[in-house]
Symmetry: D3
Subunit: 130 residues, 6 copies
């Protein structure tokens, strides 16, 4: 189990990232993920910068849909921590129980057809190559 580094115990380098997390998310709460990464400041900085850019900079995919995509990946990989944290984030951004059900149905179906495509060794159609 990794040591979790609290705000009070953080170095200046780590605290700067924590402050940006707090400002970006408009909450004092720092979740365990960042407290664990703080054991290696370059990884903390790089990962937070990436997550912030990818999840919060305005773009063509809206913030809630980004969370759904994040959940889809995390469920496929079976990452318990990420499923819990991003499901929580998605509910906070307006996901309904029904939308979560639809999401799970898509993820389940894609995991099924991925294996059928593998198992039947299906060649890619010419129309999909262009």
């Amino acid at each position: 189990m990794t040591q979790l580094i609290e705000y009070e115990d953080s170095s200046d380098e780590v605290r700067a990232v924590y402050d940006d997390i707090r400002a970006t998310r408009k909450t004092d709460e720092i979740n365990n993920f960042w407290k664990a990464l703080a054991n290696h400041p370059p990884t903390l900085q790089r990962t937070w910068q990436t997550v912030r850019e990818v999840m919060t900079i305005p773009g063509e995919i809206d913030p809630l849909m980004r969370e759904l995509i994040y959940i889809a990946v995390s469920v496929t990989n079976g990452c318990e921590y990420c499923i819990a944290s991003h499901t929580s984030a998605a509910y906070a951004k307006g996901m309904s129980d029904n939308m979560f059900g639809e999401l799970m149905a898509i993820v389940a179906t894609a995991n099924t057809t991925n294996r059928l495509a593998n198992g039947y060794q299906i060649p890619v159609d010419e129309q999909f190559k262009t």
Copy 2:
């Protein structure tokens, strides 16, 4: 390599599914995935019924976003066939190159943080458990 069963050579049972695929998708084209599954009619029927329901019945997630989620899973699993076919489907439903880029960035980031959460053995925060 699996034998691909063409429309002309299909049994009544398979042809009924092919006809429904054509009607639902408004095209005569049947892609290789279904032609391969036709070797086992119960799997063809069940899989098509599931895909049709999950991907086309109106719900809270719009059709383009469903394709993005499908791609996210397929990319995470590394399923070449499904990546090619659903990327093609997403473009047909209006995905822009930029949106695809955003999608890839989210998928890449989630795959990164999934492993960091695993590796640092991070306990799930109490706030994410309710």
Copy 3:
């Protein structure tokens, strides 16, 4: 691409394994998998010994079912080489097209329910813990 080491070009150490493969499988054919592993003789020896023991020593699971299990894993992992070689082996041991279809249906279903169990964060029932 790895160099494939042919029987004629093999060292004594590698040739001893090749001879055992030929004797065990009752064919002169050595497939590419072993010709590639021959680049690292300890891996060739260890892997062949394991595969021979696990797949051919008489036990409670019959040889054809062992191949089906091997395919199930390979399809889940998306290993093209292993899917092709073990599907071929299964047909040689008596798998019918219909049995392959049933196998794919089970693999597809398990991949679906694995993700639903992940996504819904379902606690293991007490009855399954004993």
Copy 4:
């Protein structure tokens, strides 16, 4: 953590599935998997229908072997819930401890050779392509 929907609290739609699960399995017990899926009735119905068909309709693969294949997939994916529930189901259908040991050996070996085939970038033999 998903809310688990008990039989007593279920809607007519959900209860109909629960009743079919009870009748098919000849037990009043409904395990947590279904109680979680009940949060999204279409997913509950579709998943139960698929599992029932794939796991219980008579076919060429016997019921115990179907469970072994299910376990092989679940172990490869690392799905804790599915490993626990299907291992329990397999024991109920007559799996011996020794058979479980043989199964694990095959799953372990396939996971090994899948990676060796990937890593050595081994081309598929012509004989496996037909």
Copy 5:
């Protein structure tokens, strides 16, 4: 949950492996992994022999780096037990916290670029094929 077979309760066959583990590792401690595998002695013997050869026979990759590679695989697969045990082993062999941080950064980055390569369907450069 598997029964763990203690040294005192082990058969001669299992005890011989336990003794070799103790001698090789210079400790009386047998960790749960081996106590679980002891339920199927052939798997215990084969797995221990493989782990001992692969992890302890002198070679070109030093013992600590072997542990880092082991962790990289285990983190990618999300195997909680193996992450915990091999992280512990790596610290015992001299891994620093900073080295662990560097390792996690590489694992995270590889998991990211693996998916970008999949998603963008990037053809392998000619220069990488020779």
Copy 6:
């Protein structure tokens, strides 16, 4: 198949990254991975910055070992492109054929024990939790 953006056709934004790749790697060659990511400049920039930092900034893990770890992840995930490109990079940095063989043996073994730990549902030893 993604369009590959050549140096000559690149925007200023993309070209700045290409120039940094060339300078860092001391070669004019830009491999397909970057030419594909160039379709989404923010992903190109972020990914290159991460790869450069993680793989080239001096640290406690030497450059060749970083490549071995990269290969271990890519082989576990089955990413053909990344296996080919990083195996090539590792040979360029001094990997011997024998070292590659040792690496494959470790990756194969870890993939085996990961599944045995999953399948036997082995509880983490107390000694590994601190």
